[in-house]
Subunit: 299 residues, 2 copies
DNA sequence: TAAAAATACTCCATAGGTATTTTAT
DNA sequence: ATAAAATACCTATGGAGTATTTTTA
């Protein structure tokens, strides 16, 4: 059986006249009769009652005509859906982000913009440590990652830089530097630092440590914190100070003061990572929206 | 587009390998490639990502494969439904009956038996005066009618006799004949009769009137009742007596006594009427069931 | 290099056309 | 007598085959 049989039979069922149906189908009457007969032979069911002058549908014919109409409608719908999917207007995008990225307004505004532009696309969100994100992306369990470079292994991944965000010092409320409008990096040389394990967040740690070394000292690490948010909690508990991306300001547990750094600006980079061979329009549209959100923010 | 394209594409989508898919489809690989390409050309959408060594589905391909699977399942279902309908196992039968037939246990047991045998068939029931039933049947608004002959116009209709039911006298509770085990027709010559208008129920009226005339008197009609059930109500109110089918015994409003008639038996006929050119298996099955119910009752 | 898809052709099955007959009213 | 479906026969499109080349890992 082919769709041709359904199209032809539906025309006959609607016209109840082979000659008119054939005209409507732009074929001649004999092949139409032929096709309907072969359909009936395949089903082993009479669809048309030819015993009367005006042909009529049998019970089976009525049932089959209704089904044929549904099937043909579903075929039209399948075409529509495939075209939508090709344009990236339907489908799914699996987005991952590191904890620190989740505090950045750019990430949330990119998500908002994408949902508005592509309401039919399902967006799933997952938080992972930076090191895991690269693996999830390469192995196809995630499509896009909001990350801070460098990724542990960038093979097979593209990184689009979205934002260079200043780093600021985070100090407890009562700290000697808490009232300052800005602070030079070397003024922190005597402080106890709270940092995250290098294994899980190499980019940010390397940036901070090498900057301190440029300023002439090696930061004394009093405590490692597994999460950026727990870093802030430990700072609030006066266990030390830290250096964090400016967007962390939105996090205010107890009394933590964020003091801009003076001197040579230090930045945390934020961007979107995705597979170099990514071809999904949904995913490419998502990255496009993220870049656009970034442009609006910059401009 | 033809179902062939869907079948072929689904095989490729499942195997992710043209050669294996072709083997599964019992065709060679080049025509399969050819058909998939022509499908993609018609949709103007890439369904398969051929840029890698192992081919992959595009987003659109995944969507289309899912739709293709649904469509093919629906085609299989359409075939199944058409075959069911041809056997008369699904569909609809519209049954009409006269008021007097509705009191007959044969009618209700035929309906019960049919519903048990063909649970998927929708049965609609309508009550109409005998004269209307014939028209409804001939014009195709009903499929089967439980009627008492003669139909006003039987052209185009077949009548299957199901039962010959004795007629009995219906008298008020206090009537002189109420205690009798049986009564001869001529004993009713002095009574006032309650009959139904001949226009709406010719069969029964003619039977009764001609029987009375054979017994040597013309029944004196005191009252016409539009319904058989109102006839019984009028008898209960002592406005007269009547002669009704024995199955009316199930109707007992107030005190009405049904007395068998002695002498030459008088019968009301009950049967099923349907179009002579009826070809619906559903309807033919229904009539078959009615005859079977009748046989069980008789045997 | 090996495995798989694409290309180039050949062939033939069958969808579709034309002419005509049969059927039902 | 007429309208419509069925039959008979023919044509040619395109689906499928074989052989080969190209591509990619």
């Amino acid at each position: 059986m082919e769709l041709r049989h359904l199209r032809y039979f539906l025309a006959v069922a609607e016209e109840l006249n082979f000659t008119r149906a054939a005209r409507r189908l732009n074929i001649s009457q004999p092949p139409l009769t032929q096709q309907i007969r072969s359909l009936e032979a395949e089903l082993a069911v009479a669809l048309i009652d030819r015993s009367t002058y005006r042909i009529a549908l049998t019970d089976a014919g009525r049932v089959f005509a209704a089904e044929a109409a549904r099937i043909l409608a579903q075929v039209r719908n399948a075409v529509r859906l495939a075209r939508s999917a090709a344009k990236g207007a339907i489908g799914r995008v699996r987005v991952g982000f590191t904890e620190s990225a989740s505090f950045n307004p750019l990430v949330t505004s990119a998500l908002r913009a994408f949902r508005a532009a592509y309401p039919e696309v399902e967006v799933s969100l997952e938080e992972h440590p930076s090191t895991e994100l690269a693996m999830e992306l390469r192995e196809g369990r995630l499509d896009v990652g909001f990350v801070r470079p460098p990724l542990r292994e960038e093979r097979g991944l593209t990184f689009d830089l979205l934002e260079k965000e200043p780093l600021v010092a985070a100090v407890p409320g009562g700290h000697r530097l808490a009232r300052r409008r800005s602070v030079a990096l070397k003024e922190l040389s005597g402080e106890t630092f709270i940092l995250y394990p290098r294994a899980v967040r190499p980019g940010l740690v390397d940036e901070v440590v090498s900057a301190c070394e440029s300023a002439g000292f090696t930061p004394r690490v009093g405590q490692h914190a597994p999460q950026l948010s727990s870093t802030i909690n430990l700072v609030a508990a006066s266990l030390g100070i830290s250096i964090v991306p400016a967007s962390m300001r939105s996090l205010q547990p107890g009394t933590v003061v964020y003091v801009p750094l003076s001197g040579k600006p230090l930045h945390a980079l934020l961007g979107a990572a995705y597979r170099v061979d990514e071809r999904s329009s949904v995913v490419l549209n998502f990255i496009e929206q993220a870049r656009a959100a970034c442009g609006r923010r910059a401009g």
